[in-house]
């Protein structure tokens, strides 16, 4: 029989259809099952891009789908008000902006992850702290070139220049100290101890006192009241005059002095980590406010909330005070608002109120109605603030908008926005970053992801997550940096993906409001999973070459036999559970740290990259230092075989652990470990 052409076509089409059905139907079923597992829901759209495109770390693909944003952070204004000098943190640049004509005039390169700028008296030179390069760049503004590099401590952040431009004070946020740089000899002449993760710094108006704020609280056993240090330095003697402890507060990002110099105001967060996390209503998780420090002998420290009973102003970041001392502006970066504070009202409250009443005010949501004059909306994630020299204009760095907004300080209205020329399109990952930094997905905007994970790291606090009963399951906040390849997530390892971590249960037990939509989940997951790098470990492993002590420690870490020659069981060797490159085998383990208040579960093996920067340790934060993991809590030998080690050997092991950095900075390792979600 002759087969005609149409029949051939029909036959072929039929074959293809059948083949397609054979592939599509089981393929579709497989895809549904696969997506259901990844997302932990049964109705997420079957789009492949969410997981297989937006989270790509491949440089070529990543460059295609992502964009090179500026992310303005801190800034300063020139003396004549004609120029803004803006840190573009993501681009590693300093932008020189003409705020009158709304133009970016120059881009000057900086080191890695620039933080702050200080302008010298002449206006011809500026200093930029490079937080991930451990140095300060000196830029000649007449030729727009970096002319010098000054070595600092680790993680240089806030900068303050003495009035005679002789000394530059650099807050080292990772090494917890302050470098005093002599700008004539271009060298560090002194190092002063500061608080935990210090950040902001400011000279008093008379130039005699410097105050340095800290972000993290002092490490202490759970249950101890939270104390965060404000370091006071005598700039004449260049010595610390006082370590002030601010109670029940942390994340003191920045500080400003009143022109009269009698008060200093800091931004701060008052967490409720010691209270069971059973509700968000009535400020049961976080409150946000300012601290007022009286700068006189026996001066008081008062805290007042910026929040209102049904509206919270999460993540206060920067603060500036007008030259007349009448108004303070606070950037509430988690809610995209500037809060305007009437300083006279603040003075009235602190002068007329008893100490007990002032203490009560620090927990009262009605006090803001007495001190806040107005809330001014801004673009996404307002961070650094700067005032024009006449005090009439407030410049706001909208970090995730690539824009500077300009607000009139008298009429308290937005005058204009200066586009810094960043990419126009908002990528999926950028959208995810905005969501992570915004409190809009928490009930009444009380806190954002950033609140507990500042800089996408962790806040150093242990929370009472109150599961079955209210006193159970203390949880040490974990870093979100570079976690994409280290599932499962959460200490109990119950979340196999970031999708599940941030999904419905997250909204039920943590944010207490509507869950992220699928598009939003895709965006947050894209941001986290594409990889948020750790800073380079310049503190303990600056050149990728281990010190002798670290090398000895590495031997101990990888040892198979103890000091007496006995073979260490494979399951009890450090390297078994903590293999490179992430130093986790992604499996659950019992390391003998189960507390009476824990449910009977194993714990997910945490990754150890940059572990030096994450105290306290263990699932409930009981170990204040790495040493304590074994000296206090390792006696059962379930967390590695260590009890035969001498003190010197333990010291070496700790030195090695401190040297562990991000895989991006370490020699390539090829082992890949499959995650396990087994809980027994």
């Amino acid at each position: 029989m002759k087969i005609t052409r149409p029949f051939k076509i029909l036959l072929l089409s039929g074959f293809l259809i059948v083949l397609g059905l054979i592939i599509i139907i089981p393929g579709g079923k497989w895809a549904r099952k696969h997506v259901d597992y990844i997302t932990a829901v049964t109705d997420h759209p079957l789009g492949c891009a969410s997981c297989h495109l937006y989270i790509q770390k491949n440089n070529f693909v990543s460059k295609l789908i992502n964009a090179d944003y500026l992310s303005p952070f801190k800034m300063v204004v020139s003396k004549d008000g004609d120029r803004l000098y803006v840190v573009a943190q993501e681009r590693n640049e300093m932008l020189i902006v003409d705020p009158v004509n709304n133009k970016v005039l120059n881009h000057v390169r900086t080191g890695v992850h620039p933080h702050s700028i200080a302008l010298d008296e002449s206006g011809q030179k500026c200093y930029v702290s490079n937080q991930w390069s451990d140095n300060v760049f000196v830029t000649d503004l007449t030729i727009m070139k970096v002319t010098d590099t000054l070595k600092t401590g680790n993680g240089p952040a806030g900068l303050a220049l003495s009035t005679d431009s002789r000394y530059l004070y650099v807050v080292n946020s990772f090494s917890n100290d302050i470098s005093i740089l002599d700008l004539q000899s271009k060298s560090e002449i002194k190092r002063l101890a500061a608080g935990n993760n210090p950040s902001g710094i400011q000279f008093s108006p008379d130039g005699k006192t410097i105050c340095v704020t800290s972000r993290r609280g002092l490490i202490a056993p759970y249950g101890t009241p939270l104390l965060t240090e404000l370091t006071v330095v005598n700039s004449v003697t260049q010595r610390i005059s006082e370590h002030k402890n601010i109670e029940s507060a942390h994340m003191m990002e920045n500080i400003a002095f009143t022109p009269s110099g009698d008060l200093a105001l800091v931004t701060l967060i008052r967490p409720k980590n010691l209270v069971p996390a059973i509700q968000v209503e009535r400020g049961w998780m976080m409150t946000n406010g300012i601290g007022i420090i009286e700068l006189k002998p026996d001066g008081r420290i008062i805290q007042l909330l910026l929040d209102e009973p049904n509206a919270y102003y999460a993540d206060p970041f920067d603060i500036v005070i007008t030259p007349d001392g009448k108004k303070a502006f606070v950037s509430s970066s988690g809610v995209d608002y500037i809060s305007v504070i009437n300083i006279d009202s603040v003075r009235a409250i602190i002068s007329e109120s008893s100490p007990d009443l002032l203490r009560a005010f620090s927990n009262h949501l009605g006090i803001s109605s007495r001190i806040v004059m107005k809330r001014i909306p801004t673009g996404s994630n307002p961070k650094g603030l700067a005032l024009s020299p006449d005090g009439k204009k407030l410049y706001v760095a909208e970090q995730l908008e690539d824009r500077i907004s300009v607000i009139g300080t008298e009429n308290l209205e937005v005058m204009k926005a200066i586009d810094l020329g960043g990419p126009r399109r908002i990528t999926v990952a950028r959208h995810g970053r905005r969501l992570l930094n915004n409190a809009g997905h928490t009930f009444q905007n009380q806190y954002s992801c950033y609140t507990c994970h500042p800089d996408v790291h962790e806040d150093g606090l242990v929370y009472n997550m109150a599961s079955i009963d209210m006193g159970r399951n203390l949880t040490n906040t974990q870093s979100l940096r570079n976690i994409s390849d280290t599932p499962p997530f959460k200490w109990n390892g119950k979340n196999q993906t970031v999708y599940k971590q941030d999904g419905m249960r997250f909204s039920t037990v943590l944010t207490r409001t509507e869950a992220f939509s699928y598009n939003e989940l895709d965006a947050i997951s894209a941001y986290i999973m594409a990889g948020i790098p750790n800073p380079p470990n310049l503190q303990y492993n600056p050149r990728g070459k281990l010190t002798p002590a670290q090398l000895r420690g590495q031997v101990l870490f990888e040892r198979t036999h103890d000091n007496l020659g006995n073979e260490i069981p494979i399951f009890n060797r450090c390297v078994t559970c903590h293999p490179a490159p992430y130093y986790t085998n992604k499996k659950m383990a019992n390391v003998g740290t189960l507390a009476a208040s824990d449910d009977s579960i194993l714990f997910d093996t945490p990754h150890l990259n940059n572990i030096f920067a994450s105290p306290p340790y263990l699932h409930d934060g009981r170990a204040a230092t790495l040493e304590e993991i074994w000296t206090l809590y390792g006696k059962t030998e379930q967390h590695g075989s260590v009890n035969d080690l001498t003190k010197m050997q333990l010291n070496d092991l700790i030195e090695y652990l401190k040297s562990l950095g991000d895989p991006a900075y370490e020699p390539k390792k090829t082992d890949i470990y499959k995650a396990s979600f087994m809980h027994n």
Partner: protein, 465 residues
């Protein structure tokens, strides 16, 4: 004929499209004998009907939507502007039930079929609705509790369990319910706006009016973060107030928008322009009419529609609105209990600060049920206590000193939903106080189970974060 068809088509469309129309309840005769306790002649009025008008042509466009009903009241529009809930009596002497109308084809369907009155329906954001239903009780006075159900009437769930009566609910943008709540046992003359989550958890005070004022309308949220509602001055023979409070701080932000206006208000509905669609009358002898009120003005504003023989009340606008947040629920009906934590029974707010040596200190608390004591519990040295109580059972707490004398209380009725975990900062505390950041001593031990004579409650374990 072909020329006529498009004309007929457009006329038909415009007749059936109610977008932008004002819908209201029309009440014949005098509006009197409003009973704010039982809801009679207030939330459900015999012979009332629901009408709509075109605000651009009100006198020519008035149409009755609920002709097939003996009485119909309380229209509420869905968030997409396509449907309307209302309560109605099909025939005289029928109980009031909940109905829904498709605003395109004007067809109705019954949602709730119940032996008792079901009134004041409002849409929830998750394809459910909320309404008040009469609950008869052998030992207590009958009152209206809040219920939720699916839009087809299935999965009906009661969510309030205290001996209070609830009317005139609305849904806030944050997803919570705001409702007029009045305690009926022991009877109190005062009512408040109570706020609670749609699963009945976290019920608390939102607003209470001044002495002598009665809350009489659904509170409405404006685009600029205010709540507007009516406080009646009838108790004192005073004029009504059209009131706004800030959502951010409702207890201390009351503004009387009608201080210069004498007369009586019935309802207020926010318009996109920033004005309010109000129903108002100058005196008892007049009828309520519709006005467009400018909050900046001292006058009721221009008349939108009036009828000399009828009262116009409860006006709403048919339009799309932003859907409120869908709040997650911690309720698990497989669990029989809830947990209550109080951080410091001796803390009541700013007034107790600095006076700690002067105020008597509570050493114990007594938990009181409707008609029995549930037990006396010692509080910890820091004033905290931690209880496990039967879910969906109302209770109150009073504080006792070391000599057994009652110091304070009892407080208002509380209930816990199954698996709810609830916290209080203090006792009768200032609701604007947040907790101190410290570990309460009471959570270092298991909770005290109430009633104390019940030794074991079988329930499934719950695994939360």
């Amino acid at each position: 004929m072909t020329m006529g068809f498009p004309v007929i088509f457009f006329l038909s469309c415009s007749k059936n499209s109610l977008n932008g129309r004002i819908v209201f309840t029309l009440v014949p005769g005098k509006l009197q004998d409003l009973n704010f306790v039982t809801g009679d002649f207030w939330r459900f009025i015999p012979r009332a009907q629901i009408l709509y008008i075109d605000p651009d042509n009100p006198d020519q466009s008035a149409e009755v939507l609920t002709k097939e009903f003996f009485s119909a009241c309380s229209p509420e529009i869905s968030y997409d502007g396509r449907f309307m809930l209302f309560s109605a009596q099909k025939k005289q002497n029928d109980s009031w039930q909940i109905w829904e109308m498709n605003l395109k084809n004007l067809k109705t369907r019954q949602i709730i079929t119940s032996g008792e009155n079901s009134v004041d329906p409002v849409y929830l954001p998750d394809n459910r609705l909320l309404f008040s239903k009469l609950v008869l009780n052998d030992s207590l006075k009958a009152g209206y509790s809040l219920y939720t159900c699916n839009l087809d009437g299935s999965d009906e769930k009661r969510i309030t369990f205290n001996p209070n009566t609830y009317f005139a609910s609305t849904i806030l943008n944050d997803g919570r319910i705001l409702s007029i709540s009045r305690q009926i046992y022991p009877e109190q003359e005062k009512e408040i706006y109570m706020v609670l989550r749609p699963d009945g958890t976290k019920a608390e005070l939102f607003y209470k009016s001044a002495e002598g004022k009665i809350l009489i309308s659904r509170p409405r949220e404006t685009n600029d973060g205010k709540m507007v509602f009516i406080e009646s001055g009838n108790a004192n023979n005073e004029a009504d107030n059209l009131v706004s409070v800030s959502y951010n701080r409702p207890l201390h932000s009351m503004t009387n928008l009608s201080s210069e206006i004498k007369g009586y208000f019935c309802s207020a509905f926010p318009m996109h322009s920033g004005r309010l669609l109000i129903t108002w009358r100058k005196s008892d002898a007049d009828r309520y009419a519709l006005y467009e009120f400018d909050p900046e003005s001292i006058l009721p504003g221009k008349v939108v529609y009036s009828n000399p023989d009828y009262n116009l009340i409860d006006a709403v606008i048919v339009e799309k609105r932003n859907r409120p947040r869908k709040l997650p629920s911690e309720v698990d009906t497989g669990v029989k209990t809830g947990l209550l934590l109080c951080l410091n029974i001796n803390f009541s707010g700013l007034q107790s600060s600095g006076n700690t040596f002067l105020l008597p200190v509570a050493a114990r608390i007594e938990v009181l049920g409707i008609d029995s004591t549930l037990g006396v519990v010692k509080v910890e040295d820091d004033g905290s206590f931690y209880l496990k109580l039967m879910a969906d059972e109302p209770f109150r707490i009073q504080t006792i000193d070391n000599n057994g004398h009652v110091l304070k209380g009892p407080c208002d009725w509380i209930w816990l939903r199954p698996n709810e975990r609830r916290g209080c900062t203090g006792c009768h505390e200032d609701p604007e106080c947040v907790p101190d950041n410290r570990v309460p001593l009471s959570v270092k031990k298991p909770p005290v189970s109430m009633p104390v004579h019940v030794t074991k409650v079988r329930e499934k374990g719950v695994d939360l974060e």
